[in-house]
Symmetry: C4
Subunit: 240 residues, 4 copies
Amino acid sequence: MEAYKNFSDVKDSTSSEEHPRVVLPALCHKFYGLGWMYGTGGALSIKCGDKLFTTPSGVNKDLVKGEDLFVTTVDGVDIVGPSPEKRLSKSTCTPLINAIYTKQKGVGAVYHLHNTGAVMVSMLSPGVEFRITHQKLIQGIKKSNSEKHFDYYDTLIVPIVENKSTEDEIVDSLLNAMRDYPETSAVIIRRHGMYVWGPTWQRAKGMAECYEYLFNVAVKMKQLGLDPEAIPVPPEGAYT
Amino acid sequence: MEAYKNFSDVKDSTSSEEHPRVVLPALCHKFYGLGWMYGTGGALSIKCGDKLFTTPSGVNKDLVKGEDLFVTTVDGVDIVGPSPEKRLSKSTCTPLINAIYTKQKGVGAVYHLHNTGAVMVSMLSPGVEFRITHQKLIQGIKKSNSEKHFDYYDTLIVPIVENKSTEDEIVDSLLNAMRDYPETSAVIIRRHGMYVWGPTWQRAKGMAECYEYLFNVAVKMKQLGLDPEAIPVPPEGAYT
Amino acid sequence: MEAYKNFSDVKDSTSSEEHPRVVLPALCHKFYGLGWMYGTGGALSIKCGDKLFTTPSGVNKDLVKGEDLFVTTVDGVDIVGPSPEKRLSKSTCTPLINAIYTKQKGVGAVYHLHNTGAVMVSMLSPGVEFRITHQKLIQGIKKSNSEKHFDYYDTLIVPIVENKSTEDEIVDSLLNAMRDYPETSAVIIRRHGMYVWGPTWQRAKGMAECYEYLFNVAVKMKQLGLDPEAIPVPPEGAYT
Amino acid sequence: MEAYKNFSDVKDSTSSEEHPRVVLPALCHKFYGLGWMYGTGGALSIKCGDKLFTTPSGVNKDLVKGEDLFVTTVDGVDIVGPSPEKRLSKSTCTPLINAIYTKQKGVGAVYHLHNTGAVMVSMLSPGVEFRITHQKLIQGIKKSNSEKHFDYYDTLIVPIVENKSTEDEIVDSLLNAMRDYPETSAVIIRRHGMYVWGPTWQRAKGMAECYEYLFNVAVKMKQLGLDPEAIPVPPEGAYT
């Protein structure tokens, strides 16, 4: 990998405000504010033309700068990296991120987040699936490999895979879960967080927000004795 | 609809700081921060003279810009829209927003929000009403079609209508709920969110905050075994 | 009351950064962010020399500007007000704020807040007192009319008075509670919020934060079956 | 201690953006936003070369400025202090902070925080230890006096010492807890908060976030009837 020198070599294809070197630090800051990227955890990746821009490993995500990103081809060939004196490493999530770009159609952004809602529902779901139905924000979730969205009346199912010590060890589980649930745009890692993806960084961001909202609503429902999977019956005299 | 060109044609009637093109993006950002506009959901609308300014559909609301708004007459005739190359669509909430402007007197702003408190109380209320009494913030709610506010001792009632897949399908329910509850300044959409309105964008904002505060207090009360509808009795020796 | 003209007549006694016209809007914004000033509720007041600066009534508190403040003498004589065309009114909390400045010694700031923690503990406390002991943040509370602070081992007692429709009707209750609890730096208004005061705006701010922290900890303790009033016993082998 | 005059005498060793006089106020602001530094509580300290930079006592931490810091040697000799007219005092946490720098190897930053999660788990843990296992963010915690991190499968143990009226009285307990738990990078003070440390300010910050995340997850687990110490068993058909 050649040393990263300046921004000019990557700044030509997009306007500056929408460039991954501007967007990714801003997203890191926003997701940190939502509590999804504490410690040095998580990783964000945006595909821009034939290049992948990805946040580095082991850095406080609220402190990531545009110059810290790793730029590779979709096949994993290094194009540009941060200055060597920064001693940054590629994200340990790289194999999982690449697996998602490779196996799913039309993905433009992949985020790995340590969102508490995903962790809580992974502990409250005894099996390998999180399920919820009859929530407006289900409609904010796009079916992967398709242009369709889930409907309000659908049961949204998110597969849950077991966590391991390293991200490498989760790759096969992620691949198997994506194979078994081809419509899902997210996979929960139990007691860890989630991977979520979408056709653009904006749509992946919106879906991340909807998934975490739905996880948190499900936790609150369980605290109050309500079942997120149950199909509700409108009351007598309902406005329908 | 003619293409949107620049701001000068709509900037004459108000000072820049109070203009809907400045206010609406700022409100979107504030409500996103409160967790009410995740995904691309929700819609905000301000009436300015005889023009309605409304946020577009399908855009992350924390990223909305002043130039993205749709400007129409109160009768729904297009005046100005965003640049066609942005490929933005009018909010799917437009028929509901217009119904509120048409049926309620003196409305200057309508907000559609995906606030979790509204969703939670809609699931905890078995019938078609949310009720709470003896809370100071009840007094922050204006009676619609009137200049009076609710009183501390009143029972605030907010009608709840059932959700459907599309906003279009909710129009009749909203109209019926507004007919049956002429004093309400908000309608809850079950498992979805709420519509709230007021005479100015500031007062509609204040009421949105009061409603969501009251919903959240009611949820906390139920978690702690308290009944939001019960009339409290002061203890012996109370300071009254 | 003469019309407010410019800042120069009140800017001489303090440096600009610490002036109430700078501090109060910043505090409003901070307290709004903490969820203590939703709707148009609450009021903040700072004493600067022989002048009281107080936020106006009926304005969204996150939108208050320095020019919106009312300036009076401690005896309630008007000195400067906002521009008449703004049609602002004095805070309805004025009689309570003045009662606190008059009855308590060395008060430099009074805040009236609609903090949820105060409302929740007022509903969970069957009598006229909130009580908590053995919490570090108790030591952040100064005894009113004294330079001493409460100790970790003390039981912090905050009197609770009943709410009424108007602030005017609460004045006597507030006076009686301050008479009966001369050491308290705050009074809870049931199902409403609290009044809190201190020798400077900074110390009143710190105490507001400590009180609300303690209220929230007490609510969480009750949710988990713990008693905020119980004196804890260190376990065997404790590090003491 | 000589009076503090200007920044030039301490600005030579690091770039301005990374200087403790820039970093510590920014950290105070960030931790205040997370609810860890209400009132005037808490203290942050960074080691820069052979100098310790520490926040002052009794100041609202969200209002701390770079010029307010106390600079000492590691042995406690005063180098630079804030302007005398500011009447600031050294942090009462100084003896505990110094004890950590002295007893632990390679510490570059020590933070004392009043985080609610630490307080809640200290009340829910009947003994002298907080324990949690099988959580991804456990891997964000470095073993003190070592370059290794805890593993996902490890049980993270954080010692809990009893609180006293003054920080001075806790020094021995802290020393004993550090002696008994040489791998811990944090000590919980019951009903008070925690001390946390790391080799750099960034890594100590990341660990503070991971600890508080884990405390909060443990509280939520207990609210939902789950045991943070139990070793989970993957369900049948798990993706492993």
